[in-house]
Amino acid sequence: MRHFLKLGALALAAGLAAPALAQEKLKVGFIYVGPVGDFGWSYQHDVGRKAIEAAFPGKVETTFIESVPEADSERAIEQLARTGHKLIFTTSFGYMEPTLKVAKKYPGVKFEHATGFKRDKNVSTYSAKFHEGRYIIGKIAGKMTKTNTIGYVGAVPIPEVIAGINAFYLGAKSVNPDVKIKVAWVFDWFNPGKEGDAAKALLDQGADIITQHTDSPAPLQQAAARGKLAFGQASDMSRFAEKNILTSIIDDWAPYYVERTRAVLEGTWESKDVFDGLAKGKVKMGPYVNMPDDVKKLAMETEEGIRTGKIDPFTCPIVAQDGKTVECKDGKLNDGQIAGMNYYVQGIEGTIPK
């Protein structure tokens, strides 16, 4: 409902805006899959949008449309293109085809599509190496677990999530050879009740640390209710469990959004694919808390190592669950191999749902 109201307001604003003013300022548009208030994925993209406004005062004007269903996104994207937006960020995987379609009709508009893999002359793609953060929290969990069992709440079995599970396990195992992880899939990105139930099931089965790749703070909260430890996801979730959170993996799109806006302003924008993480600040870590100093030191050293390129979570040899060694050049897996990961590494029990 709000979505329709916003569209209406947008159309109205575009009609009323003085043309001269519109030409002076660069208009940047955003399409979000969830509400700005999800306190996770869309919330963090909106933080990036605000950073653009702050970085170029008086030079840019930003607009967003929230809760846009993927299947019906073409209309919303075209609405932004038609109303003079010259740079448009579409921030969910399912916006891929609609973005490309609208981009063909508006060759003068630059598009940026998050987490996709199809590009065009005026369509870039970008994503973040969230698995780098997962390797760090894996090490923390490996050190902190007393039962040697860690529960992992997964959303949907796509490569991004599977790569995260693998990186987490490799991190945990590097400091604790006896560690086991149990994975429970929710088959939803956002279903607080079910996410919480999954966390409870994992705790019931002996896990004493919970980590999650879903969007709500429910798993963290359930772990805290049982006096166990957990991690935050997408944004700093410490306020939900101050005494039980270890750290959060934070998505920070702001530097990238500012950089790309500057490129358009200076006329240097070109289509490309950007996949980076801690080094460029797109992935950040929350404060390391509720852990002894040696674990904190280990976490900070690992973070620094990944940032400077000394440590890579997927350093070869990588052995898959079925015992085969993964093909490897340059001593580590390349970006394509990580972005397409569809197998567990050796040591993880259970199978990936098909």
């Binding site: 709000r2 208030g37 529960g151 429970a184 088959f187 607080p192 009740g193 099931a201 909260q221 209710a225």
Partner: protein
């Protein structure tokens, strides 16, 4: 395993409680002959209002009451439209769900990301020592016990009171009921309000007990599951209760199967409750006795003749 069993039972009970409460309300509404597809919307408005009021007043009790009343308020709009103005029930119900999802976002806007302390459980001193069942059944949250009272209330009220009889008569055949001089529309309106009250209460359970925060869209389809449960119950309260706990049980069991790396296809287990609902419908229609066990005038608008 013996240690974890009470915990698992507890998880099942909390997962089933919001479904049970919303389904009990919808059961009564449907017995009176009104199909309310707005349960999801009333539930989410209840969740947002409950959380907002609980934070503002720092009282969970007021929060729960506000959630239930918010559900009732939305159902009053629905009731006026479908009962008194004889609007199409399916279309109006769907509109209520869409309205509810939007409205709840507005109500909850300033409460996103705020944490809330848990409501302490009610413990029964001696009973909770009973092995396995004791801890699950006798250290529950207050609304869980309220849901048990509601089961009895709805079961007794519908089957053994005069008002229950009138309500069912109105649902079975509104023309005959009207001819007998029953206030068809007033009874239906009351049934709609009761359904909304319980949908709102179920929403309050979601944001204050099940997961203690507000987030837009957090009902995640539970209103629709409640509607499916009413179909599954085919007119019997005991089957509704069974269905709700079975559904909660299967949801939790499939998560456990995954966590325990038992090789069951979890998607199939997730779909099982819905498959069961379809199977029940099929069995009822094969057995030949009037279709789905739904009230005779279900979904038909009633306009009294003059």
């Amino acid at each position: 395993m013996i240690d974890t069993l009470p915990l698992i039972l507890g998880t099942i009970l909390t997962a089933a409680t919001p479904l049970l409460i919303a389904a009990l309300g919808e059961h009564v509404t449907e017995r009176a002959g009104v199909l309310n597809l707005g349960v999801e919307g009333m539930m989410i408005v209840g969740a947002a209002s409950a959380f907002a009021v609980a934070v503002l007043t720092d009282s969970s009790v007021l929060g729960i009451a506000a959630g239930a009343l918010a559900g009732l308020a939305v159902s009053a709009v629905f009731g006026v439209l479908v009962v008194y103005l004889a609007a199409n029930q399916v279309a109006t119900g769907l509109a209520m769900t869409i309205l509810g999802l939007g409205l709840s976002g507005l109500i909850g806007q300033n409460f996103v990301g705020q944490p809330r302390a848990p409501i302490p459980p009610i413990e029964f001193p001696l009973l909770k020592e009973i092995p396995v069942l004791g801890k699950a059944l006798f250290t529950g949250d207050p609304v869980f016990y309220l849901s048990l009272i509601l089961i009895g209330l709805v079961g007794y009220g519908l089957n053994s009171t005069r008002f229950g009889l009138l309500l069912r008569a109105v649902g079975e055949n509104h023309t005959s009921a009207h001819a007998l001089g029953l206030p068809v529309r007033r009874i239906r309106f009351i049934a709609v309000l009761f359904g909304g009250l319980l949908a709102g209460l179920a929403g309050a359970y979601l944001s204050l007990i099940y997961t203690r925060f507000w987030s837009p869209g957090m009902s995640a389809g539970r209103g629709w599951i409640a509607l499916a449960l009413v179909v599954f119950a085919a007119g019997h309260v005991w089957r509704l209760v069974l269905g709700a706990y079975l559904f909660g049980g299967i949801t939790v069991a499939q998560l456990h199967a995954q966590a325990g790396a038992i090789g069951l296809p979890s998607q199939l287990l997730s779909a099982l409750p819905y498959l069961m609902t379809i199977a029940v419908l099929l069995l009822l229609s094969i057995s030949g006795r009037r279709g789905s066990g739904a009230a005779g005038s279900l979904g038909q608008p009633f306009v009294p003749e003059r």
